[in-house]
Symmetry: C2
Subunit: 229 residues, 2 copies
């Protein structure tokens, strides 16, 4: 969000790129602004940092107010502060991204007055964004591309139990390219952070795939070592 208080010569805000995965598509949460400037434009959700909040808390609050979710993986990744990025004055904004598993309809809450609506939109068909939000988004995507190659953040986008095909799908969407099935499985299994379950996928009209969990204990041991895709 980009609300401005006119008497301030500089304002400090946080904007969030909330990545969500619904099992099929990679989406981000955008709000349609109901105020000038950029009335009726889509924008990244954001807000002013509260007086006694840490930056991380502030980002978590923005996410909570929009989605009702807590305990989500979020990471600060860049500060944007060009004079002139905001038509009404100097606004320095800190960008965060978040990774969210989307589950049905419970992913949005009633929104405040400054926005008409909030919506999960697929990253393959994003509208024009207000302010310099396109740039903020671009840099966020770039960051998670890099990050997913080295750390197991893909799990944050998936339900607790998932199939290897789903996991591969996440990698393909984020990296923007196809991966070889056999090589992918070989590699991801070799990291030793997956726990194979006795359970199978349900409700599919074909052979059900084995379900896996991410094993945090094993990952903790591995931590520090670089993994790569």
């Amino acid at each position: 969000m980009e609300q401005i208080l006119p008497h301030l010569d500089s304002v400090f805000s946080i904007d969030c790129v909330l990545f969500g995965f619904d099992g099929k598509e990679l989406k981000i949460l955008l709000i349609e602004r109901n105020e000038e400037p950029f009335k009726d434009w889509w924008a990244l959700p954001g807000n002013i940092v509260g007086v006694d909040e840490s930056l991380d808390q502030s980002a978590a609050r923005i996410l909570y107010e929009l989605t009702g979710l807590r305990g989500i993986y979020m990471e600060q990744y860049y500060a944007f502060g060009d004079p002139g990025r905001h038509p009404q004055g100097r606004v320095i904004t800190l960008a965060y991204y978040a990774l969210i598993r989307l589950g049905g309809d419970k992913d949005l809450r009633p929104i405040s007055t400054y926005a008409k609506q909030a919506n999960w939109l697929p990253i393959t068909a994003l509208p024009k964004l207000a302010f310099d939000h396109q740039r903020i988004y671009d840099k966020g995507l770039e960051k998670i591309k890099r990050r997913i190659k080295h750390q197991p953040i893909a799990f944050e986008l998936l339900p607790e139990k998932f199939t290897l095909t789903q996991l591969q799908h996440v990698y393909e969407l984020v990296l923007g390219k196809k991966l070889d099935k056999r090589n992918f499985r070989k590699k991801i299994v070799s990291f030793g952070v997956l726990k194979e379950l006795d359970e199978k996928q349900k409700g599919v009209s074909y052979r059900a795939a084995t379900l896996y969990k991410f094993d945090k204990r094993k990952y903790a041991k591995l931590f520090g070592k670089e993994i790569s895709f």
Copy 2:
């Protein structure tokens, strides 16, 4: 959604971790404070962001005022803003690191009144730092460790013409570990961003090593591809 008001007194600053290499040691530039709080403590150089400056410009200015240098490689890497990180109120600070080739005495200029002195201190023997500057430094070092593995920033620390041994030395200091000479050379040469010169090292009392230059044109072609150490 309730609107949280911005903290009117909040201050926005930039702090810099200036890494310098003098051919032997990796150092950072610290200032000894002459004002409360933390009077007489060592601290990272920093300043308030000017009204019409971009963030990058502001960081470049801080560096220029201390060293007289321009055109130095700098990168923003994190924002620190815990309430309580500054005893006198909310100060959000953006951290930058810079990579500087140190050449003799011309690396420092007369300093302003808020500091008693400024000094290049080796990272192997740093004093206690004011505020949360230890944390800011730690994160900066972590960042360049990661970065040097994937992008040719090591050249920023070396003079225009350098030997392979010097280059390896920089990698070893930043990464904090020994590298194998033959493998290092094989790899760095294979990236194809070095230009071998006809010149040799001078003034050494042993066999003079061949000098190399970093070839920016070749690097530009390679850009985007990941290199790794």
